[in-house]
Structure formats: C-alpha cells, structure tokens
C-alpha cells in the first residue's frame, strides 16, 4: 500500500504527492508512477510532470475531471513497483581543467580537499536524474558525494556558458543555455542535454543514472565525443 495525497490544481491538473520532505523512497515512487502512467495512460492525460516528491498530471478537462482522473490513478498508485524501475545510464564527458572550472579552487578550499580529490570525488558519484526545471533541459542530478557538497555562492555569476558543470549541495547540473548561476562551476562538458535529435531531443529521462568521464582541454577543444 502506498499513501498518496491528491490535490486538484486549477481546471486541468491533479497533483499526486508521496511525501512533504525529500527522500529517495518518495522520489522512487514518483518515477514508478511516471513509468506506470506512460505504460497505461488514463483517459484525458496530456502530460505528466515528475518532480522531487510529487507528480503533476495535466489533463484535458473536456475529457476527464479531477475526480475521474484520481479514480483511474489510484489503482496505479496502489500497485507501484519502485523496485523495478527502468533506468538507462547516460555518459557525460567533463573537462575539469582551467579555464573551464573557475570554482574548482574554491570548492577545494571549502572542502579541505585537493583539486584532484574534488575531481575524483565528482567522478565517483552515483548520479540520478531527479527532475528538470528552471530552464529548458536543466536536469537536476542528485548524488554529489558528501565530501564535495558546498552551498550556493552568495552572488550569482552572470553569463555562465552552456555546457558548464555546476554543483550546489547534493545536486549537479549541466547547463544548456547561457544563464546566471549561483552554483559552483567545476567543469565544462561537450555532451549536450538538448541533443538536437528530433527523435530523442533530451539526453536524460527522469530516473536515469549518469556517469561522468574526464576529458582533457584538448579533447574539449577538439569536440571529441569519445
């Protein structure tokens, strides 16, 4: 049995919440429900939006309503199988060399590690795609090791280039646009989350695992994709 809270949102959405605090268990239920909805979409479902502890279903109010949709979702929630999630592993290449890692020295200082130790810790993390948000293709990856977790910087840096690998607390993100960020910039990636592939326009599905691989500045400049 899984407890879930159902909240109607406007005239066209239903929010299904598994917890009010972030936990792995709650997020696994979100992914399990997301996959169950993809396998067996209830009538009127337009799209599902998974987040940290809940999932929102946007529906067509000409086809269904909050009550009918909840009735078709409840059996799915009751038979969730968070143990049997489909998860691909995606590889992301990162150059940690100057000038692409301007905050690496500060992260090293803050954590009492050498820069190489920060890099190795980052490479060793077990990352999972938690959700997207903020801007197109901004995928929040959980799994930054405790040893290199640092808070946001007090002042955001403007015009941070697309492809920057940034960290804050337990989360890591590969930027897709030139944007300001208050997260620490520890590398630059060639791997594009917005792939330009019409059949698979986003590199990650929510729930995927992510493995980082180190490349040199030469490989970055050469556009090597490994």
């Amino acid at each position: 049995m899984t407890d879930a809270r159902y909240t109607p949102v406007a005239d066209h959405a239903l929010l299904i919440s598994f917890a009010s605090e972030i936990s792995d268990a709650a997020h696994q239920k979100v992914i399990a429900l997301d996959q169950a909805l993809a396998d067996d979409p209830p009538p009127g479902l337009l799209e599902a939006v998974p987040a940290m502890v809940n999932l929102l279903i946007d529906f067509d109010p000409l086809i269904t309503d909050h009550t009918a949709l909840q009735a078709s979702v409840e059996p799915l929630v009751q038979s969730l199988k968070p143990q049997a999630l489909r998860r691909a592993t995606r590889r992301v290449q990162v150059c940690y060399d100057a000038p692409f890692a301007p905050d690496l020295p500060a992260v090293a200082r803050a954590t009492g590690l050498s820069e190489d130790a920060v890099i190795n810790a980052h490479l060793a993390g077990d990352y999972q795609v938690l959700m997207y948000g903020f801007a197109p293709g901004y995928a929040y990856l959980g799994g930054v090791p405790d040893a290199i977790q640092v808070p946001r910087k007090p002042v955001p840096l403007r015009d941070v280039p697309a492809g920057s690998v940034i960290i804050a607390g337990p989360q890591c993100l590969i930027t897709t646009l030139t944007m300001p960020t208050g997260w620490s910039i520890i590398g630059r990636s060639l791997t594009r989350v917005l792939t330009d592939d019409p059949d698979h326009p986003f590199l990650f599905d929510i729930g995927d695992r992510v493995a980082f691989e180190r490349i040199s500045a030469d490989q970055l400049a050469g556009g090597s994709h490994g």
Binding site: H12, E47, L56, D58
Partner: protein, 332 residues
Amino acid sequence: MADARLAVSFAGPLVTFQDAGRRGHLRHGVAASGPMDRLAFDAAHSALGNPPGGTAIEVSLGGLILSCTQGSVTISVTGGDFATDHGGAKGRSWQVLTLKQGDKLTLRAGAAGSWAYVAFAGHLKAPMWLGHSATHAGSGLGGGALGAGQVLHIDDAAVREGREGEVERPARGDGPVRVVIGPQEHCFEACATQTFTTQPYSVSDAYDRMGMRLKGPELPLKGALSIPSEPILRGSVQVSGDGVPTVLLADHQTTGGYPKIATVIAPDLDRLAQRRAGQTLRFETIPAAQAVAIARNTAHQRRVYLERISIARGTLQQRLMRENLNHGAAFD
C-alpha cells in the same frame, strides 16, 4: 498564389514568432510557450480562414512596423486594443486588411491590452524547435524575437478580399480572475488565502512572458519557506519569501520551490494577460469541479465564436448586394 515578403522596420522588445505552443515537454523543463492570449491568436487565424495553430507574430506594447517589399498578403490584427496605421489609414486591432507591395503597417500600443497578434493568409516561415515555432523568450529557443532589418517570408501568400474589414471581438468577462486554491495553501498563514481573494491587487512593471508580478497586500508564509521543488503550471500563483505573488504565464519555469497559494483557471488566463502595469484585478476562489464546468462551457463558447468569425463575409460588392436583398425583404 505567390510568396510575399515583409521587411521589419522596427520591432519592440518581446515581439516574437508564436504558434499554438509546444505541449508535452514540461517534464524536460520546457514550458509550452505560445501566445499569451490564446483566444486572440486563434481568432487571428479564424478571421482569415486559416487552419488553427499556425505561426503568427505576437506584438508587445513596444509595437511593430512592417513594410511589404514583395507580393501581397491579407493579414489579421487581433488581441489588445492596439492602434494600426496602414499607409496613413488609422485603425485599431480586430481587423483584416491586405498589404500590397510598398504598403507600410504600424502597430502601436493603444487604449488597452498588452499583446496583439498578426496572422497571415499564407505560411509565415520561422525557425522551429521541437516541431514548433513558439518562442520561449528567456532562452530564444523556437522562432525567436523579431528585429529591425529582418525579412519575413510568407509562402503561398493569398489575398482574401472577402475577409477584409472589422472582426467581431470575443465577449470576455470583466469580473474577478478565478482561481482554485492550492496546491500549497498549507504553507501560508490562515489569513493569506482570504487576503488574496478579497483584496485588490495591481499589475506591477515586472510583467513579461514568464510571469506577472503583482502589487498588493503581502501573503505571509508560515515559518520555513523551503518546499521541495514542485511542478509549476501556466497560471500558478507563486509567492516569494517577501510575500509577493507572481502569476506564472506562457514561458514559466516548470518546477520551483516557492509555494503556490492558488492557480488561475485556464479560461481566465487570456484576459489576465491583457492587463497592463498599474491596472487592478481581483481574484475569486472557486471549487475545482466548478473550474472544470467553466472550462467546458468556455471551450464551447470559443468554438462557436471562432466558427462564426471564420465565415468570409464576401467582397464589398457581395456585401452590398446582400444588404439590398435584406432591405428588399424588409420592405416587402
């Protein structure tokens, strides 16, 4: 049919290509974008007899000046009450007219409204992203913003004289903007929902395609601000730490950690988006079931309205003949 070309002599900020929007990618951080006033956008196409959803131009209060450099094309102008100048002939939005080579068209902010739409009898070419030209203004993804010097290409441009003239405006209520409370009303002090739905708010200067920040009584949050990042919709009313509400609109973030006190129902978003900085508005809370009933009723009314304006009225000559026949019948 031939092609037409229009040179952009001037485009204010946030004048963008928009089609009906790219739905289905909220999970990837991509808002649907599309027109801020979806009904006016649909009306612009219907008034020309176009199929729904094609690329049009969304014009901000900054305005737009176009010059027809090649061919001829019939266009519609809908949306807020903007002022038009077609080669010296002054008019207002909600009209269909034909641009011929050498013609200049100016759109300026008029008496009311924040967004106008220009649609074309033909296919307006624009860059696509994920199969849509809708522009996400913050990132520039999609068709993008228009700028001076740009040339617009309209393939299969048609002249449809029988559609020229005024376009019937849709009936839009002027009552409170209706919301369904939640989903994070529990994050607020008990007085907050009552304040939000009984006190007047006004539109601040911080209004763009992403959202509309409001001015008015603060909505106090209970204790800790931080909630886990949750999904956001077009219409979500999120409240930042200072107690100030913002209604998120076409180019909204898809998730965020600010609590949302309420969500504006979709049928009321178009008229909300046409408000301007300084204008006041009130919010009214309704139950979710009533929101669905309103959505269904509104969808029906919109369909009837769009069908009505999609019928060509005929050329001037045909219209005069019809008038004569009608008069003849009346005096029989």
